[in-house]
């Protein structure tokens, strides 16, 4: 269950949209931020808020890269695997992080702290290789700086 003030906020967002559906992505993102991922419960809540059916939410939720329909760690590490980062050694960075976390790409660490996902170009090609943790983008990541980064998030 989402808190009442959040429900109110989302209802206001929906009311300001041209159609309810227009606000669907915003609603899903808010619910995801609240729950950590878009849980089944969140899908049903989103459907109720938007006047849609859970299936109609699911059709959208499963379309987008950054809507998680499975549990993810507290920090989702999106490592860009597109061409510019690839050219600058992105694969090595990805491999290094997977090794450091002891998981394969797509996996979540046992402590629930990290999920490692490849992602579409982050639009930071001049600073490649690049990755995003939460909303923060990191530039020119190397195997060494990746290790430091993981450490920072582990022990903030």
């Amino acid at each position: 269950m989402i808190p009442e003030n959040m429900r109110q906020e989302l209802q206001n967002r929906i009311a300001s949209a041209v159609t309810n559906r227009e606000a669907a992505v915003d609603v899903m993102k808010s619910l995801q931020a609240h729950y950590g991922w878009l849980t089944d419960e969140a899908v049903v809540e989103a459907a109720e808020l938007l006047g849609l059916t859970p299936l109609q939410i699911e059709e959208l939720a499963t379309f987008y890269e950054m809507i998680y329909r499975r549990p993810v760690g507290r920090y989702v590490i999106h490592v860009c695997d597109s061409i510019s980062c690839w050219a600058m050694g992105g694969e090595t960075v990805m491999g290094k992080i997977a090794g450091l976390l002891g998981i394969s790409v797509g996996g979540t660490t046992a402590d629930g702290l990290f999920t490692l996902l490849p992602c579409c170009c982050l639009g930071n090609c001049g600073q490649s290789p690049t990755l995003m943790i939460g909303d923060t983008i990191y530039n020119r990541v190397t195997a060494e700086s990746a290790a430091e980064l993981i450490e920072q998030y582990r022990n903030p």
Partner: protein, 632 residues
Amino acid sequence: MPKLIIDNIPVEVAEGTTVLEAAQSVDIPIPHFCWHPALGKAGACRVCAVKMLDGPVKGIQMSCMLPVMEEMVVSTTDPEAMAMRRSVIEWLMINHPHDCPVCDEGGECQLQDYTIAGGHGIRRYTGTKRTHVNQQLGPYIEHEMNRCIQCYRCVRFYQEYAGGTDFGVMGSAGRVYFGRFQDGPLESPFSGNLVDICPTGVFTDKTARFRARYWDYDMAPSICQECSLGCSITPVARYRELLKIIGRRNDAVNAWFICDRGRFSAATPVNNPLRPRTPRIEGREAGWDSALDAIVQRVSELLKNHGPGCIALVGSQRLSLEGMALLPELSTIMLADAPCYFCDERERVQTSAAVTGLTGAISASMADIRQADCIAIVDVDLMAEAPMMVLAVRQAWRSGAGVYSIGETVDLPCECTAVATLDDVPLATAQRPVIICGTSGFTTARQYVSLPMAKGEPVKISCILPGPNSFSAALFSHEHAAISLEQAISSGRIKGIIAVEADIPPELSADIPVIAALDWRNTDTVAAAQIILPTTAWAEMDGTCINNEGRAQHFRKTMNPGLPVHGLNPAGHPSHLHRTIPPGGDLRPAWQIIDELIVRMGGTRTTEQLNGKWEKLRHLDAEGDGLPIYEL
């Protein structure tokens, strides 16, 4: 009318026609998966590639997406086009399982047909096949997602055409999945059409699973008997069992689809091993001759004791037109009053008023509904009484029609404005307005036919009737000035009843013996009858019925009657008796039994059931659109 050339054949078709349809019009088949006449173009499968040799568009094009244009020169057999089509099949077969031997779609699978037609036989992709987890979609539809070729027909039908909201498409790229949010029965009352519309075996009819192959089917063009709309269907039978029902195209009536009630509830009573299958006298099995003679004897006794008018012959709204047409003759010969085509007096009065009040000019077909721009629904629960009408209304709404309801609020898969009376509906300013009503609302609706129109056509009416052949019943009832059984009994003169596929309320006939019941269903009337004569069900005979619009439609015999082999006690099978008729198969159409009674009462045998004004219906094409009786 643009003129173009397809495979050297000159074609002239209406503006807006696609190249694919233009080719079809001259019998050039172009493979297609996603395109469907009822759903239109999607451009998803890319298998309908043709080569444009000359004209305003050049090169490889998708024929489903391309409207015809003057001076186009099209080749469907150009090597480039064929190579493209072959690629599409190869792509689709990358992930489609090779499970045809255990797939119910085998033999009626478009993918199978085109794969063979295109010559794709060598697998060049050496990776593994994508797999999915299936869902439980309820008792009717089997889900096998691995077979999916992502033509999007299912979701386009389910959501766009039928307005369903619990089934759709999820995921993206190679993980596209068609299903529900979670397991559970499909909610749409039109879900069964997924079976018909899926070009391969993702959705198959669970009720007929693993029972027969397409090439072994008994099939014939038929008419659904579940409500008064008379949708075109193809029943499918094998081994004396009605396996399943497939929707059949009829542009004037149901277009392409049918409802789940028509699809999934019609077979059970036909297959019921316990339905009347042999003549019986007082519960004991009897031969046809003795049962028929017993009826003649009992009728004669009653006539001797009570004089003319003591017998009530009762027809029904599910009896075929052929049976109805013979009943008056039997009445005459039994010195009875006109047959009672209705039991309930109010139903007779209202149905007769509707049927006699309709004319060819004002009676709306379902095609008229789909094309209407203003629809008023007066006091009728369409979902319960005529589900396919709901789908027709939705199509009109999708094209921009306003939909209004008067009386009880109706739950429709489209926007619907509740108003107090028909005066609140903008009928007069519409181009093609239609009122949909039940028999109770007909008289009110009828007044609006003469409404002065601002610019459009006069208001048409579609009146939902109580049964599949109510229209015929009302016509005969009217023609013979017949009264209802209720009224006949209240006169006190009726001493015996002969029921022909009639459902007589037990309380109505409580004090009067039912001498005979001719029926194929186990009804209360059959249970009360002294003599039972088993009739063939609609799927086991040829016949005619008239739908709510007044459209006469012929249905053909799909299967020979008999106890379904499925479910027989294996110990008693095969039967070791010498016989020419299968067990439980010695049934006769009701009209034949009526005819036999006429003969035994001293009348002459009928050589043709449809005479006089019905003569025109004798050669009615069962695969056509039917014939509005206003044209007789």
